[in-house]
């Protein structure tokens, strides 16, 4: 889901906080001008600071406060940790968390594995028409989630959907994609995988093309076969980019909303209810803002912890 327009991932992690190597400009105060070397940077970042304060910093702090309250409008009052208490005792929250974790564990490795395979293919000089394939696999990631959701709700239709028809050509019986708890989960995983595999593949492709060719030549001279070269050369070289995609995909999946919202409504019997969907229902169907905010913070906490663990685990070996 996305509040602001979705932001494509930067292809490398930000070197945040690192001291700049840029030469500072000469400070030559010029009293005739409003825009001096000293004031200019502040003027330049002013819009960003304002927007950040209003639409990022304030909401983050405010929702922490809201999560400690109950009631609406004038009737809102402080209830301490009641919402968090309620959350721990709410079976639907745990169901949603379990579903989200399940999708995460199955979908992220599947998608990133496929993306890496596609990237290797796109990088291989043995393949004809590479630009065309690259274009094709990237195209799904341009599609908005509503368009994709509408499209797949019909493609996955049990009686008359495209997918079941294609399967029938191979003699496979009709699958009740969105109607059974198991297949509904599979369907959601399929659609997310369709949506983002190409995007990740293109990021990997950039990483692959950034590996110096000499390294491969040297490995060949040492007698390393293709599999060996992949395991001991390609993968280590790709590690920063792999880490980035793992972290971003994890964040994305933990916040999963659009696909179940459009495809299944969270059903059947909550099989595809995600934390963000449950949050949405509480906030905007039941107008229970306090509880929805508590859900949001619980989710933020989980994202932060998981992200931190991933960076520690995968970044450590370097």
């Amino acid at each position: 889901m996305s509040l602001a327009p979705s932001e494509p991932a930067p292809a490398t992690a930000a070197p945040a906080g690192r001291g700049t190597t840029d030469r500072p400009g000469r400070t030559r105060p010029d009293r005739r001008r409003l825009l001096t070397r000293t004031s200019v940077p502040y003027l330049l970042i002013m819009p960003a600071v304002l927007g950040f304060a209003i639409f990022k910093a304030y909401p983050i702090v405010a929702s922490l406060w809201i999560s400690l309250t109950t009631g609406n409008g004038a009737g809102r009052h402080f209830t301490g940790l009641d919402n968090y208490q309620r959350l721990l005792n709410d079976p639907l929250f745990w169901t949603a968390l379990k579903n989200t974790a399940l999708i995460l564990v199955v979908q992220v490795p599947l998608m990133l594995g496929l993306a890496l395979l596609v990237a290797l293919g796109l990088d291989s000089t043995k393949v004809w028409l590479r630009p065309l394939w690259r274009l094709g696999v990237f195209v799904p990631s341009l599609t908005g989630l509503v368009a994709a959701g509408v499209m797949f709700s019909v493609i996955l239709n049990r009686d008359a959907g495209l997918l079941n028809w294609v399967l029938s050509l191979f003699g496979i019986d009709r699958v009740n994609w969105l109607g059974s708890p198991f297949w509904a989960r599979v369907g959601v995983v399929l659609v997310i995988t369709w949506h983002y595999t190409g995007y990740n593949a293109v990021i990997y492709l950039a990483g692959l093309q950034g590996i110096p060719q000499e390294l491969y030549e040297a490995a060949k001279v040492d007698g390393a076969g293709p599999v060996r070269r992949f395991v001991s050369l390609t993968l280590p070289q790709l590690r920063p980019i792999l880490l980035l995609t793992v972290v971003l995909s994890t964040i994305g999946t933990l916040q999963l909303f659009d696909e179940p919202y459009v495809l299944t409504g969270g059903g059947p019997d909550n099989a595809t209810l995600t934390v963000t969907m449950y949050l949405y229902n509480n906030g905007f169907k039941y107008f229970d803002f306090g509880y929805a905010s508590a859900l949001a913070y619980a989710l933020a906490l989980i994202v932060a912890v998981l992200g931190f663990l991933q960076v520690r685990l995968m970044g450590e070996r370097k």
Partner: protein, 442 residues
């Protein structure tokens, strides 16, 4: 004015503007405007689609009879209107219209959560009409203050539409069906004779359309909540209703309508033998499937249990005045004008298809006229008859949306996973109690 903006000055400016916006955002203006009893000027009305069209048809004569009042009817769209009213009420009446068209599934929640949001109409004379509307409706307009806050406009009595041709082929006599036990027996006969299933239901619950389950409860004078707002989702009657649905399913009589457009497609292909719907479906079926002319009939809904009642009100809609309106008296005059006079309300029925709640309206010949789509049957008659019978009000409360969700989950568990209806409803009722803080009725 300084030509050089110092850093300090810039920071001050930035902080001040952020603080300013923050204050506006944090400032508590939940109180909103107090409203006033103005008797003239321009009033706005929020409604949706065909109902809005119906309301517009009475505006010219109203404006002629009430000089000094102008009426602007806006089609806000349904379901957009609910969010729009809710947001307006939550922000203290900001931006609300003077007259609001509200459904029974929302009205109690509004009265409950926003006590000053909807104007007191008893004060303006609404109590005169207490007995003018179909039975069971008046209690739903009462707030906790024991005052009326709306006038009923539309009522949707439950009916049962059936495919005359399928029934005939299977040798089923509709007059011999008194309750849903009879209907299950008939359904099996029809399935054997024609291969057509008795009815469609969204087994996955994606649409959360629980009307059928609700109707089976209402036929036993029970709903998710009792009149005190206590939870009755696990009551014997609710279990009875869900068990009936399970029996229908076990007998193979339910076609799964999950998925985009499935129900409409099945109806169009003649694969559903009945359609358990309210009065609005009279024209829906006739206009959507004109090629099925002559094949449909309607009857009073079978009772849920042997000897039980055979009438229920599926839902109803109302016109209310927002508490923040500054022209409350003018707004009330429009509501009174539009909803309490048979000729006008029937004109709106004709142009908007809104089935009237006003009892006096049923004397009109149109309610006993034969309908060609239904083989010349006087199709509206059973609906009117069911409204004249005794009917219990339904308490939707402010937590209807949550109750709907849990009931829908329970039904999916029964239909998809073969869960036991009593267990599933017990679990649902417990969750509903946990989430809403309401007690379960014992």
């Amino acid at each position: 004015m300084s030509h050089q903006l110092s850093r300090r000055r810039l920071l001050q400016l930035a902080t001040a503007s952020v603080a300013g916006l923050g204050l506006t955002a944090c400032g508590d203006n939940g109180s909103g405007s107090a409203g006033d009893d103005g008797d003239s000027g321009r009033i706005t009305v929020w409604s949706w689609t065909t109902a809005a069209k119906g309301l517009r048809s009475v505006v010219p004569s109203f404006e002629r009879d009430n000089p000094g009042i102008e009426v602007d009817v806006q089609d806000v769209g349904n379901p957009a209107i609910w969010d729009k009213i809710t947001v307006g009420l939550a922000s203290g009446g900001k931006g609300l219209a003077d007259v609001l068209h509200i459904g029974v599934d929302y009205l109690p929640g509004y009265l409950d959560k926003f006590p000053d949001g909807i104007a007191d109409l008893s004060r303006l004379g609404a109590d005169t009409y207490e007995d003018a509307f179909a039975k069971g409706l008046w209690p739903t307009v009462m707030g906790k203050d024991k005052a009326a806050h709306a006038l009923p406009w539309e009522v949707n009595p439950l009916g049962l539409f059936y495919r005359h041709d399928h029934f005939e082929k299977a040798g089923v006599d509709p007059d011999g069906i008194g309750d849903w036990n009879d209907m299950i027996a008939a359904g099996s006969k029809i399935l054997d004779a024609t291969g057509v299933r008795l009815l469609g239901l969204d087994k996955t619950g994606a649409t959360q359309d629980m009307d059928f389950f609700q109707n089976l409860m209402q036929l036993q004078d029970v709903f998710y909540f009792d009149q005190d707002g206590k939870i009755t989702l696990a009551s014997p009657a609710a279990v009875e209703a869900l068990t009936l649905i399970k029996r229908l399913n076990d007998a193979g009589l339910i076609a799964d309508t999950a998925g985009q457009g499935t129900e409409k497609r099945l109806l169009g292909q003649g694969k559903l033998a009945t359609y358990a719907e309210a009065a609005w479906a009279v024209e829906y079926l006739a206009s959507t499937f004109p090629e099925q002319k002559g094949k449909w009939r309607s009857m009073q809904p079978p009772a849920a249990v042997p000897g039980g009642r055979r009438n229920a009100i599926v839902n109803s809609t109302y016109l209310a005045v927002s508490g923040s309106s500054t022209r409350r008296r003018a707004a009330w005059r429009f509501i009174e004008y539009a909803l309490t006079e048979p000729a006008r309300i029937n004109r709106m029925f004709a142009s908007g298809g809104v089935f009237p709640a006003l009892k006096a309206a049923y004397d009109d010949p149109r309610f006993s006229a034969p309908h060609p789509f239904y083989g010349g049957q006087k199709v509206l008659k059973p609906f009117v008859a069911s409204l004249s019978a005794d009917a219990r009000p339904t308490n939707f409360t402010g937590d209807y949306a949550r109750a709907l969700k849990f009931a829908s989950d329970a039904q999916s568990q029964v239909l998809i996973k073969g869960a036991d209806p009593a267990d599933a409803l017990k679990k649902a009722a417990e969750q509903l109690a946990q989430q809403t803080g309401r007690q379960q009725a014992v």
